[in-house]
């Protein structure tokens, strides 16, 4: 009986091929230098960086009135490639993009929830990442070498500031809706707080105004794994072997926080990968172990360890209440002028329903109209990427609704 239900609940996401009428098709990223060679961008924590290049992708057409912009913010390991199939995946050394479309292809495309026949969708890679926007693996023009740990610390606010400059350069003033999940959801929230005049709507999936202590603790394990890797070399590993083991362990740890206990049980149970063979204390027999091992190993093929440190630092330190309300979240929320939807997922234990609810209630207490939805799901924190049906329904409804 339970097995049957489990089978029923299983769903495979079938990738939308590039020639599908609901796919945005083949995509080409663009790179824009938003801060020139002789300029610097002042950062929240006091550092400066310049030049700054931003990699971004767009889907759909910008309306003549420029009033149909939907801005997508990606999460920790994400990139600007939110939908469609990367035309230059192989040439750019991003082989991982050849097997799958963009990370939120299920909701972006012609006729999909974020309908590219209606909206002009922009997604950009954030500062400090390793997918085309300036980050620790980029060459510092002053030294001719990668920045590594000489890269300044960046924050969620800096990412939003960079996006705002990108929009300025593209001649876009207002955003119909800014949307993100997880760390992307925090950027959506930061948009509503930092640029209240520019945002009509914001949707925050699986994110709160700050990470919990437990979340910081999870990150601490991953960060330690990287920093204690024999190959880490204070971040100067670009000429030699990368700290792959440390990064892989960091990813394994993080991946556990993206799933839920129920979801893991449903997906792997206690099934063993190796039926025969002599038992060894080294273990590795459980399917869940080999799955995590695979996640770790494939991640190091596509991600930079220094970027991981910078991004998790930003994730740990973001606190909207502190930044905009002197520690008072309600005070911070008074700034908001856009319609906001906060959506949690019942089994998310990274940004829990309780934390998301707290954010929505703070908006309500600040006298703002607030929307909060808790979607039942077994997929934990990853639900915003997996629960296509309810997420699509919410996106469609909220994007279509009036400004107030």
């Amino acid at each position: 009986m339970i097995e049957q239900q489990t089978q029923k609940r299983k769903r495979r996401i079938v990738d939308d091929p590039p020639d599908s009428p609901t796919s945005v098709g083949w995509t080409e990223a663009r790179t824009l230098r938003i801060i020139g060679t002789d300029e610097t961008l002042k950062l929240e924590k006091g550092g400066e960086i310049g030049p700054v290049d931003v990699e971004y992708e767009t889907y759909g057409e910008l309306s003549p009135a420029k009033d149909n912009v939907v801005l997508i913010c990606h999460a920790l390991s994400g990139d600007a490639h939110a939908a469609g199939w990367d035309k230059h995946a192989e040439a750019a050394g991003r082989q991982f993009r050849m097997k799958h479309p963009g990370w939120w292809d299920t909701v972006i495309g012609p006729g999909k929830a974020i309908d590219t026949r209606k909206f002009f969708v922009i997604c950009s890679n954030f500062l400090g990442s390793c997918y085309g926007t300036t980050g620790p693996s980029s060459i510092n023009p002053r030294t001719g070498k990668p920045y590594a740990l000489s890269f300044p610390v960046v924050t969620v606010s800096d990412w939003v500031k960079v996006q705002a400059i990108l929009l300025d350069k593209l001649g876009i003033e207002r955003v119909h809706c800014v949307i993100g999940g997880s760390l992307g959801g925090q950027q959506a929230l930061e948009w509503a707080l930092a640029y209240p005049q520019r945002v009509d709507r914001a949707i925050v999936f699986a994110a709160a105004h700050r990470l919990s202590t437990q979340g910081v603790a999870f990150n601490a394990v991953g960060r330690q794994a990287i920093m204690t890797d024999a190959n880490f070399n204070q971040g100067n590993y670009y000429e030699s072997e990368h700290p792959k083991n440390g990064l892989a362990v960091a990813r394994m740890m993080a991946h556990i926080t993206y799933l839920s206990e129920a979801g893991m049980h449903q997906k792997f149970g206690r099934r063993l990968r190796l039926e025969n063979g002599s038992p060894s204390a080294l273990g590795g027999e459980f399917e869940v172990e080999s799955y995590l091992d695979y996640q770790g190993r494939s991640f190091v093929q596509r991600f930079d360890a220094n970027s991981y440190l910078y991004i998790t630092w930003a994730m740990n330190h973001y606190d909207a209440a502190h930044r905009w309300g002197g520690g008072d979240l309600v005070e911070a929320c008074r700034r908001i002028q856009s319609k906001v939807l906060v959506c949690s997922f019942s089994t998310d234990w990274l940004y829990t329903p309780q934390q998301c609810r707290e954010l929505a209630f703070a908006m309500c207490r600040a006298g703002k109209s607030a929307n909060y939805v808790n979607v039942p799901s077994n997929y934990g924190h990853d639900s915003f990427l997996v629960e296509t049906e309810p997420v699509s329904q919410l996106l469609r409804s909220f994007l279509a609704g009036g400004k107030r």
Binding site: L341, A360, R365, G367, Y372, L394, R396, F398, G401, R404
Partner: protein
């Protein structure tokens, strides 16, 4: 005498004369002279609508309103459109929450039985609890909560003391199923059914004042009077601290 009384009379009339039993309620009503011709309203439509109509009349222009158990947000949408009210809905049912969002009505998906502890005192002018009181686990806590976060509360509920309900229980010996209480005991969301008189005793005991009271009785909407514990099918009361 009410329409319902006529309904109850019909079998008796039929016993006297089968022809009399075939008269419609309106015919009997007109014959008895209290249903003015041409003013018949469908009971169903009135039952659906009357609370919203009264609430729309009560709530002043531009008020800040919290609707607890807001369903798909129809009332808040009307209040926004007709009274420029800034409203906030609260609802637990997923389908209703999605429908409210599609309507553009702001809604928080939470369980009312968890209380409203995240909300500060006096952040709303009116707190509406329409047909929801009897579904709550802890109604007393909610009464106090609604008058903490709002200046006034509007509470409506089906009256279990209504004579038809009493008669139904008396004659059938089973939990009443009526137009206002259409559920069976095993599938009803109404876990705390109450009579109008129970409510009046309860608010007095809770030191809560009644500012206004309206009832649906005899198929019409009117201010509450003595004896309505028997005659009111549904009640709507405005309460304050």
């Amino acid at each position: 005498m009410s329409k319902e009384v006529i309904e109850a009379l019909k079998p008796l009339l039929a016993k006297i004369d089968p022809a009399l039993g075939k008269l419609t309620r309106n015919e009997i009503g007109k014959a008895l002279g209290y249903v003015p011709a041409g003013t018949e309203v469908s009971d169903e439509a009135l039952r659906e609508r009357w609370e919203d109509d009264v609430i729309l009349r009560i709530i002043p222009e531009g008020a800040r309103v919290l609707d607890l158990g807001c369903g798909d947000g129809q009332l808040l949408e009307k209040l926004h459109r007709e009274k420029n009210v800034s409203g906030q809905g609260v609802e637990l049912n997923q389908a209703d929450v999605f429908a409210a969002i599609a309507r553009g009505v702001p809604v928080l998906q939470i369980d009312l039985d968890e209380g409203l502890k995240e909300l500060t005192n006096d952040c709303f002018d009116y707190v509406v609890l329409e047909e929801t009181l009897q579904t709550l686990n802890r109604p007393t806590a909610m009464l106090q909560e609604m008058l903490r976060v709002g200046r006034r509360g509007i509470v409506s509920f089906p009256n279990f003391g209504y004579w038809k309900v009493r008669l139904d229980l008396l004659l059938s010996g089973r939990m009443p199923v009526t137009e206002s209480l259409p559920y069976r005991w095993y599938d009803t969301p109404n876990i705390h059914l109450l009579c109008l008189q129970d409510f009046l005793d309860w608010v007095k005991q809770q030191k809560v004042k009644i500012a206004e009271a309206h009832v649906l009785a005899d198929g019409e909407v009117r201010p509450m009077r003595d004896g309505d514990n028997l005659y009111a099918e549904q009640c709507l009361l405005v309460v304050e601290r």
